[in-house]
Subunit: 353 residues, 2 copies
């Protein structure tokens, strides 16, 4: 494998010294970039873009051409696993993801087949190796998966949800069915992420977008436990380097201690958590990634810079900080403002290292 | 005024001894009740129901006929104030609340008129006095308002939102405009809640449904500060009794200490907060209201009872607990399950008092 030219991100994940704070953005390859929209239009629909290795590689690299980013992230969707379980993922215009088949009963769950990632999700692995080659050691490549609980919400609700009533009904009324589903998903995610690592992913992130809609007790039992199981099953070294794992539960600020106990190397933080508090609570055990509100990018340049300075000061001196947004960059964000943000992180962080 | 026959709720709010833990449900007068749907159908649309004193009174009392509730809550909408500011509230079927006029600029905000609640919102006061009379001292009546920040989100977005981009853009890019809007709303809410108290409300609750989408710093500056201002401006005694104030910020579990500093008598808690933790943090200063996940009502009777027992044990012995759901009861909840829930609170809580 080619030597890694910029290893700031990997070093920060392992809490090693860096020159400046590394930065990347969740959803950095996306609709806020006109060049992304052009590629997507040429691909047809969103899933066709994910399934085409050349185009998935092209959009993954687009933000790196514009910005001084310290990591690339595989362009894909979090719902590839349920799609490989034959639920029939599709995207209704303006409505987000939907499934043709939804899971509601014990029979629905027991019929569900755990996919073989190398075979059933080969298009993802092809994209990973294509991107890794194209990156040519410029920055590390992040692979990712949705968490079992997060995937289950879409599979049981049939798409996005506001109240999560079907999936919570399954959880409260038939917890054994819910656990069977989550077990199958955890096995699927382990295989999926390990295949990504074998194909070239140098870091993996688990996106638990909907863990925060649970009570503390239910989060531990129905989301965190399965993420812990995944982390325990992952390949943790490749090319002679550790493969760090980042755990991100949106709205999980109350459970950082438990998240740090999973064996993850870093926790992703949304903007509702004060970075200094998070560091005081778990900073001796894990790196912290985050946590600027993506809506700050709607403000003028000076306000963006002030927010970057404030968050750098909140984290303070020392290792273990990766700058990121607290959630994905919005489709209406101005790319020029994203550039101001990224440059500000590098410019103002040197004094903390 | 008629003597209050059941003052458990008021006593618990003031952290005085009670025989059993009082219980009510947010949105207890609502679509999960067939009798509510019948009354609403006879009223025409939702706003006509809110604006008709007899019908608003009728639906307020409906859940008390079915269940052994310890409080009634005014039937109304949180968006009455912006409607009285001439923004033209309407409800698009299946889409939630919408405004004909939205606020985006400094001029939009400076043109906004602070309503006179006694005049412009007289229909609410008429409903309050009608309900208070009809209750005849059976249980106390709760008045309520949305928080300034929560009202502002709807007024700037023009309705419900997922990413709050317009209102957050206003907040980050032109904070002085946002503060002007929130100042006007705080003044409006003070007048609105005081008029409700004068008309007969014995408790008031401030619903900060969307404070939890902010960072800790922005929450303090753009939501909490204005709720504190409101609490400082409220009539705190009527009919020789204190008028307790309940503050509810959904997803505000990280900020309970600051919420307890506002002068509120009680904090409403959603289910993401562990009740024992909340009590340890702020239970010596405020009562706590909550916090069962409304989705537990989708489970069988035994599961509902087990959850009630668990939450009672989490709060433990002593005063200052009001049982409630962590958010409004869902429209698909079974009224029989609501009854099981309410009866279980009374049955299993005696041992803690």
């Amino acid at each position: 494998m080619t030597e890694l030219k910029n290893d700031r991100f990997l070093r920060a994940l392992m809490r090693e010294p860096v020159d400046v704070t590394p930065v990347w953005m969740m959803r950095q390859a996306g609709r806020y970039l006109p060049e992304y929209k052009a590629t997507r239009a040429s691909a047809g629909d969103f899933l066709s873009l994910c399934k085409n290795r050349e185009l998935a590689c092209e959009v993954t690299l687009q933000p790196l051409e514009r910005f001084d980013l310290d990591a690339a992230i595989l362009f894909s969707d979090i719902l590839t696993i349920p799609d490989a379980m034959d639920l029939g993922l599709y995207f209704a215009e303006g409505e987000g993801p939907k499934f043709r088949k939804v899971l509601r009963t014990a029979a629905d769950v027991s019929d569900l087949r755990v996919p073989n990632a190398a075979v059933d999700l080969d298009y993802v692995m092809n994209a990973v190796s294509e991107i890794r080659t194209a990156l040519s050691g410029r920055v590390p490549l992040i692979g990712f998966s949705g968490s079992p609980w997060t995937l289950a919400t879409y599979m049981v609700e049939g798409g996005s949800s506001k109240d999560f009533r079907h999936v919570k009904k399954m959880m409260y009324a038939t917890p054994e069915v819910m656990h069977e589903l989550l077990d199958k998903l955890a096995l699927s995610v382990i295989d999926y992420l390990n295949q990504q690592i074998l194909a070239g992913a140098q870091v993996v992130q688990i996106f638990d977008t909907w863990g925060g809609v649970l009570s503390g007790e239910m989060y531990a039992e129905f989301s965190l436990k399965y993420m812990q199981k995944i982390i325990a099953g992952l390949i943790r070294e490749a090319d002679g380097r550790p493969v760090p794992v980042i755990l991100f539960t949106k709205n999980g600020g109350q459970w950082l201690e438990q998240m740090a106990d999973t064996g993850a190397d870093a926790l992703g933080l949304d903007w509702t958590i004060t970075l200094s508090d998070a560091r005081a609570r778990v900073g001796s055990r894990v790196s912290l990634q985050g946590n600027m509100d993506p809506c700050v990018l709607y403000a003028p340049a000076e306000r963006i810079r002030a927010e970057v300075k404030k968050l750098l000061a909140e984290y303070g001196t020392g290792n273990g900080h990766i700058f990121n947004l607290g959630h994905g960059i919005h489709q209406f964000a101005d790319p020029e403002h994203a550039k101001i943000f990224i440059d500000a992180v590098h410019e103002y962080s040197a004094q903390y290292h």
